[in-house]
Amino acid sequence: MRAFLGIFQLELKALSRSRSLLMLAAASAAWMFVVPRLVVGDGTAEGMREVCLGYGLGGVLALVTVSMLAAATGSLARERAEKRLQLTMVRPVRYFAIVAAKIAALSSAGAAVLALACALAPFCAGSASNHRRCVHVLRPLMPSPREEAKAMYAEYMKLPDTPDAVKKARPSTVLRLLATRAWDRYDTVRTNAVAAWRFPAAAVRGVRSGEVSTRLKFSNTYNARQDVAGELRLGELSAAVSNLTQAVLVFPLADRGGEAGEEGVLSFRNLGKDALMLRPRRDVELLIPADSFFWNLLRSWIEMAATLTLVVAFGLFLSASLGRPVALFTAIVFLLVSEMSPSVVEQYPDEFGATLSDRIGLMVARTVAEVSHPISSMNPLERLSRDECVEPREVAHAVAVNAFALPVFLALLAAFILPRKQEN
């Protein structure tokens, strides 16, 4: 433990005495105050708040991530090149402890700068932010798209309309295609028909009139905008749906009497002229009040710090394996590709009819998307700026996986590589 602490302190001293940490903190603070004022908002306080939280904290997160990645990729590689690492390696200290202490130090430094930016966020976003409450966003209880795809697979392959190219494709490719379709599947609600979706009963039990809202994203086959009319009901609560716009609509549910619906089931009766289409996995949400903006900000910080720990661990793993310039280049390329690959995979869910080079590109993008999923899937800032709750369950998962399990795994790999790299 003394050795771990010694290396931890050494790494922090290196950052602070080279003034890197001070410069990073100053740049982050300046960014939080200056950049939101340079970016033109939509003129509303809400828009300004989104700019402050999204661009302000998002910019600092990007700055800290790239800086700590650069520090991590340089750390072991530079010490090895300058032969300082061998002086540590001949001491009675486990190689794992060397890597783990460096991960802890660099991620702590990065987390401290993020904490500073988070502390400044309420001032930048306006004092009204402190009094806002966030909401839990609940989606209907449904089998996952992958499970639904598995259930559909046999039937789909027997359909005469199924293209030959699909029938000849590997099951994993077809399952991926079906899972994408399941994610986007529409329920069509005809005039006077009722659509119902089940939500976790425990989460909606006991919510009072006016506290819970429904958020719907309507669309139909023909128009982007249409006249929507109908009634929403959740247990004893209900709301009249009437709006001429086709944007995202939020309806507070209140106790208006009438027949109570089934507990935990949200129903929508279409009273309009046209059939409506809703994607239950994407377009139907219940919003239930959660805690304050402060707690949401704290959870966002923890999630960002956990993701940063994983990025630092990845950088140190590369630093243990490669020379500094190669490690830094590889890390930056991986970071960029991991940011882009989810949208590539979303836009091109299947490779039917694609050329060989496109198929190879898609395969690379898909592999990187899967490998980098723990990083790319964590984006608490979008939810923070929309006052959606960063769920404690998700934060616990981020801490367990991103801040602990994966960094430990990468540190073990780096510790295995360290003495072997000395052979070169």
């Binding site: 001293k13 032969k83 061998q86």
Partner: protein, 255 residues
């Protein structure tokens, strides 16, 4: 007497071949080397540049693994934490962290050796006094001269009270006074029971401090023996074993 137990370092038929990216052999740095360093002696590993001294030292330190043969340190693998706990190492160049002060540098290595904060503080003061750097304890080592940095590195090597001290060219770059001080210190440590393994280009220095020497050339041991029983100077013995001094063609440069 159990010789194995008396041997602090033992190498048995050790060879080291460096390979390129495609695992093709490039350099055979050490070839079938066997040696034993006994407890309490000062052992000198001598040889010309490229003779395999540094590679041998790195294998003893666990920084390199042998291609063939076995290296044991206190009867253990050199990479084991237990073996490294009993080891101190002074590299050829000091390789210190320039932003740390002298006291912080020694304290850092004390922490790596597992000393408590109080022990580390006491040991740091002792060692700074021993190497004569008390007055500059709070100056960053990046501002130190080569000789001062060397003293800090030596103090750092001794911080864990090692049983074996490995010195790679300990007097390299030092002025005559500092060289004499280092030699006196090594002798004192050896008299205190510490085992010392040293490499040196300077045969006079080796002759002064070593009990026993081994001469390496092209990765092979060409001679080994007690300094006191050579019957000639170490330099003459060395030249006899390794070969004559290179005659440089100086004429074109003297016109």
């Amino acid at each position: 007497m159990n010789m194995e137990a008396e041997n602090v370092v033992s190498l048995a038929n050790v060879s080291k071949t460096f390979r390129d990216f495609w695992l093709r052999p490039t350099v055979a740095a050490v070839d079938s080397l066997s040696l034993a360093v006994r407890r309490g002696e000062v052992f000198g590993l001598l040889g010309p540049n490229g003779s395999g001294k540094s590679t041998t030292i790195k294998m003893i330190l666990g920084l390199l693994s042998p291609s063939v043969g076995e290296v044991r340190l206190f009867g253990l693998s050199p990479r084991s934490v237990a073996a490294r706990r009993r080891l101190g190492y002074l590299p050829e160049l000091s390789f210190l962290h320039p932003f740390l002060t002298a006291a912080e540098t020694i304290g850092y290595y004390a922490g790596l050796c597992g000393l408590t904060r109080r022990e580390a503080s006491r040991r740091t003061r002792e060692l700074l006094a021993m190497v004569g750097l008390e007055s500059v304890a709070k100056r960053p080592v990046g501002e130190f001269s080569k000789g001062m940095a060397r003293r800090v590195a030596l103090a750092s090597a001794l911080v864990g009270r090692p049983e074996l001290l490995v010195l790679d060219e300990p007097t390299s770059g030092l002025d005559p006074i500092s060289t004499k001080e280092v030699k006196t210190l090594v002798k004192a440590l050896a008299q205190g029971g510490m085992t010392v393994l040293t490499t040196s280009h300077l045969l006079a220095d080796a002759e002064d401090i070593c009990d026993r020497v081994m001469i390496l050339n092209h990765g092979k041991a060409v001679a080994e023996g007690e300094v006191s029983s050579l019957g000639t100077s170490l330099e003459e013995f060395f030249l006899a074993k390794v070969g004559s001094v290179q005659d440089f063609a100086l004429a074109p440069f003297l016109r």
